[in-house]
Symmetry: C2
Subunit: 148 residues, 2 copies
DNA sequence: GTAGTGCTTCCCATCATGGGAAGGTCAAGG
DNA sequence: CCTTGACCTTCCCATGATGGGAAGCACTAC
């Protein structure tokens, strides 16, 4: 199976398959005589594993660990669960950051009549809200939310 | 006021102040004889505005528009509200994507006894879950969630 | 044998942010 | 007056995961 077929079968783009190989997430693919990468069913299985983990928001680093645990038949399920729980906690933190943003924005928007008049509480808030040091809020605790 | 003081007064790092100037989000600062950037209170006001918008998750492009509207005394509040609502919708989409991930992960983790035994439903799911085309789920609708 | 598709590698872009080097400037204290 | 240290300048590079695209082979179908 060439890389294009492997991509279709796994749902991982050819670009990403090559990238994952380059950074060592997956082993270098076998090559045909013409240096084409070739993939077996087991490789597709691995790629699907990666796809699934990626869809659940795991980073490449986490996937490296998960793949190692997957290949280690003697691993402790607690090790896997710990990674999952840590990731859940991280996602919860991001969700909380987003929720805080939307709550503030919804409040501001609800006070903005949103018609042709220039008066706008949203801009007023942006211009006059106290700097974050006054409120130990989300952005202070979690840093810049890289969710944009 | 030099850039360091402006940074402390606004909560925007010196690096980012220079960057915002470079990409045209803010006007080039006045310079001292020694080419040091100097800032007035009005500049700090603008930087705080940016800081606030950034903390609420707005992109640089959105901030550009918001700043333009802020400086336009004749703007319609509806224009501002539209941007805010669109941003809220985007944040809600991301929150939904995160919620879907955590729901799945929580379910998998709850079925994982998480002790020293190797049996692990989490890895089993990763290895055997059907490819995403079977389920028109979050990742398919919203693309790769860049929330990681 | 040629057209078209697929593969290869290599470089560049994203977005917002930080790190760090090399060198100029300023204020305080000896 | 000169040194020291803190500050400023510009320039380059890195992040993480992903895509775009070019130049050049390889393969397939007709």
């Amino acid at each position: 199976m060439n890389i294009g077929e492997a991509s279709k079968a796994s749902g991982v783009s050819t670009k990403m398959i090559r990238y994952y190989e380059q950074i060592g997430l997956i082993a270098p693919a076998h090559r045909s005589e013409a240096q084409y990468r070739t993939y077996e069913d087991t490789d597709i299985h691995t790629l699907r594993f990666i796809r699934r983990a990626r869809d659940l928001g795991f980073s490449v680093e986490q996937m490296k660990t998960l793949l190692a645990l997957w290949h280690d038949r003697a691993r402790a399920s607690g090790d896997v669960k710990a990674i999952a729980l840590e990731h859940i906690a991280e996602l919860d933190r991001k969700a909380a950051a987003i929720a805080a943003m939307t709550a503030t924005l919804r409040h501001l928007a609800s006070n903005c009549h949103g018609d042709g008049r220039p008066d706008c509480p949203i801009l007023d808030d942006f211009a006059d809200a106290p700097p974050e040091s006054d409120l130990p809020e989300v952005s202070a605790r979690f840093g810049r939310a890289n969710i944009g």
